[in-house]
């Protein structure tokens, strides 16, 4: 597959904008879907999902929190809107920021008061990243994760060794790539380079 190269600006989101602004603007031409205008009589829960679709992840701003599958549930309660999110990694420093930007975005849309709570089980997996999200990752210059298969499948049998993972280059599509670093700029990514087009790129690790 010969996908067209993204502009280099897509790889380096220079301006430091608040997460909500990134969500609205998109980054490097990879726009998150716009929040549709409010329809009269639209349910608060549906409206909340639409707003959340525009809340960017602080560390991978090409994706929204719903693309990543972080939002598990939105419901209405007498105390206000209840949003349940799941953490990606145990030590992900973005967890608090994500909760704050969710609250902020919903309140800015007049949907407050909002309570955000965490749910650990079932554990988040990259399999929950939406197809649209995977496409946006690729366009942003990050190779999307492969499927993990069945959640929690036979971990004891899985050989624990460094294995070559056939990760396709998000720039030129070549499978001739190699891993440069098992850990990248954030906990969720590893660093690769393409041997065909020589470009370095990040890979969202499947977990």
């Amino acid at each position: 597959m010969a996908a067209s190269r993204t502009s280099s600006s897509a790889l380096f989101p220079a301006p430091e904008l608040p997460a909500a602004a990134l969500g609205a603007l998109g980054v490097g031409g990879v726009a998150l879907p716009p929040v549709p205008p409010r329809a009269p009589g639209q349910g608060r829960v549906e409206r909340a999902w639409a707003v959340l679709g525009g809340v960017a992840d602080p560390e991978v701003p090409a994706l929204s929190v719903t693309d990543l599958g972080l939002v598990r549930e939105v419901s209405e309660s007498p105390a206000g809107l209840q949003v349940v999110v799941t953490p990606t990694y145990s030590g992900c420093p973005a967890t608090e920021v994500i909760e704050a930007s969710i609250r902020q975005a919903l309140e800015a849309d007049g949907l407050g008061p909002v309570q955000v709570s965490q749910r650990r089980s079932p554990a988040w997996t990259t399999d929950w990243i939406s197809d649209a999200g995977r496409e946006r990752l690729r366009a942003y210059g990050i190779a999307p994760p492969g499927r993990c298969g069945e959640a929690g499948a036979a971990p004891a049998e899985q050989p624990v060794r460094i294995v070559a993972r056939g990760v396709a280059c998000p720039h030129c599509g070549s499978a001739r790539t190699e891993r440069l670093s098992a850990f990248g700029a954030t906990a969720c990514k590893a660093l690769y380079r393409c041997l065909a087009c020589r470009e370095p790129f990040e890979h969202f690790k499947p977990i």
Partner: protein, 262 residues
Amino acid sequence: MTTPSITAPTSLRARYLLRIADTCLIHAQRLSEWCGHGPILEEDMALTNMALDLVGQARALLTHVGAAQPQALDEDQLAFLREERDYLNMTLAELPGRRAGRDFADATLRNFLLGQWLLLTWQRLQASSDAEVAAIAAKAVKEARYHVEHASGWVVRLGDGTEESTRRMRQALQRLWPYTTELFDTDEADAEAAATGLGPARDTLRADWQAAVAAVLADAGLAVPAETPFRSTGSRGVHSEHLGYMLAEMQQLQRSYPGGRW
């Protein structure tokens, strides 16, 4: 002004969980000491990224243990305001990783030996009768698998590398191996955990751990050392001389600035 120590939880259940939480916490602190000192930039990032996962795992368990106390304690109180004897980490986690004649081989090998133990522990804890512990484990097991994969790759690389790297890895193995016996020491906290379904007694992890470790050491061209009569006792609160210094550094902010947050 300093913040006084808390009264640490003493129930068998709390002790069982604190051993795992403290092992993650202290191991993370040692890994983070490599920040800016890794032999290559990629390793610098790897060691600190793994530390981050381990801190996250420790936070989740400490929060859970603290909430179950008659007088609720938060994660920071448990992490920073206990006396040395109230920390129940495996001694292996607190040994120096890069000073006092230790080097990257020690750090790598410890990361592998302890990582493999944590991986097996988390795998078994996924079936815990405590739903929150099971949920924490289900998340942690994915991270631990990646840590072990990374660490075992390095053990092979150094063990089966140059004359110098092999020599250093052999020395590290001699230094660290006596502390691995403690990983499978079993006492009343393990017995109760096994009886209530909270988690496995440590001795039941031994066979799987030995098999996994032996396979990697064989690939690295390293012989499995013989067992020695030495017994370390960190998981019972009696630590090596190294933990006190480390805690002084870790606790300094919370002790000096009570309730400090940022």
